[in-house]
Subunit: 294 residues, 2 copies
């Protein structure tokens, strides 16, 4: 299960910005854009300011912007303005002449999974609206990742199931993973180290999504699990935590599981390359990146 | 696509009560039980009072109670105490020696869909905790349905897409339908009139679940759609309603769609037989039941 190497950036390269999911806060967006513009030639799709209900414009306009970037042979990397919801509505309309690197997380997982189904790597990392408020080391690491370098290991907070595993890092947002089960955009997770994070999902919903993946056989062959942040996922007044629940659910797989990676909707969203080989050492709380984008 | 006739009740028959999903309010439960006990010999599984987090006891104890009813050759009908969440956690462990009629809605859709996948009919209708507060005509109709009679048509409130269709009524709760996509418990919806209802789902989530079904090809061959209540599904301050969204989403199928059926989490939850043939006349806002349970 080997994933293709993908286009990387150099300082001064063109970087496309699109909004395939939800509308975003302009001020946070500009702040993040300034961070990127300090290093790359940032080109924001003109459609990116649109709003339609909970979407950043109509499907047609969001798809047009993304497709134009995908069709631009000189534009290798595309970053999402924000997550939210909506990228999966575009999946059926996208066409691919060549591989482009996509960057983002949360709802952008719809694209990551479609990329993984094609055996393409992509970058699970900050969206533009996040970049202005992330610590300097996240920004530095994001540049390193986008420029194809192999980056330092990440440390998790809690060993759920000890042990070591090696495989391609796949997954992303749990809700999106569950929402693509049974579609042609769902990658095989066999042989993979599964990354999961989420936001605003009550424990029973986390349970339901995990149970869905299990009943569908989607978790068969997973060799390890790394859990990022599960932000605002607690039930008010409950005698248990979502971390406890996730430990129990993932524990049934009998593979190494490491929780508390600084990945997701928290204050720190460290970038990682999906589709790249990683070595998970859950006993020592360490996720080592064996490959970069290229 | 024909569904098996199923066991029916007579006045005085044994009726099993189980809690395969969430814990329930004892007072509401007793009220509903009294309604049933006025007509049938109600037997409540001793496990039904248990609680574990958001579940009515452990998987083992919920499955044991349900399996015991399924294995009881003299017990043809089983009604759920309440929905909530948890029935899908039991699906893999259930075994079937013979067909039993299951009654309930919401999370009980996990069982309904598994029944539909086996081509068994079941009753989408009030759970026990609902029965004490439903109007008299719902109770009367529930008895008629459980006793195998063909019941009067139901009227919807809004024609979304006019036209007529005929097929087996399948579906239930949208969240559960989306949560079983890609599993062996998901029935084919081809040739079916699809019933959907839900509670507490924000519009983008309704969109995501529908889009999931669509991307999975699960909606192919659906001949008509009937929408029950979508209770507490509005986005605060939004310029659009969930009804509008559902009209747009279902409208893309190009089949007759009728909305506002008195089915679901509202004050009136009229029972219908899933798997039974229905004639949908969306133009005249009418859902006619062509078959009963037997």
């Amino acid at each position: 299960m080997s994933f293709s190497a993908m286009p990387v950036l150099s300082p001064g390269s063109r970087l496309g910005v699109v909004a395939p999911s939800g509308p975003f806060d302009r001020e946070r967006f500009e702040k993040g854009l300034a961070v990127l513009a300090g290093r790359y030639r940032v080109e924001v799709a003109p459609e990116a300011g649109e709003t339609f209900r909970y979407l950043a414009g109509s499907d047609e306009s969001r798809a047009r912007a993304l497709q134009r970037c995908l069709d631009d042979a000189e534009l290798g990397t595309i970053i999402a303005a924000r997550g939210g919801y909506g990228a999966m509505r575009l999946l059926e309309s996208l066409t691919f002449k060549r591989a482009a690197t996509v960057v983002g997380f949360s709802d952008i997982t719809a694209l990551h999974l479609a990329w993984q189904a094609r055996r393409w790597r992509s970058v699970h990392g900050p969206v533009v609206t996040q970049l202005g408020t992330q610590p300097a080391d996240v920004v530095a690491r994001t540049f390193e990742v986008l420029e194809g370098r192999r980056v330092a290991p990440l440390m998790g907070a809690d060993t759920v199931t000890p042990g070591q595993a090696e495989g391609a890092l796949v997954g992303g947002n749990l809700s999106l993973l569950a929402s693509l089960v049974g579609t042609r955009f769902m990658p095989s997770l066999s042989g993979a180290v599964l990354l999961l994070e989420d936001v605003g999902e009550r424990p029973y919903r986390i349970d339901r999504m995990w149970t869905h993946l299990k009943l569908a056989g989607a978790l068969e062959g997973v060799v390890g699990v790394v859990l990022g942040e599960f932000t605002d996922c607690e039930e008010k007044g409950a005698s248990f935590t979502s971390a406890q629940l996730l430990s129990e659910l993932t524990g049934t797989l009998g593979v190494p599981v490491l929780a508390g990676l600084p990945i997701g909707h928290g204050a720190v969203n460290q970038p990682v390359v999906l589709g790249a080989r990683v070595r998970l050492d859950a006993s020592n709380k360490r996720l080592e990146c064996l490959e970069g984008l290229a």
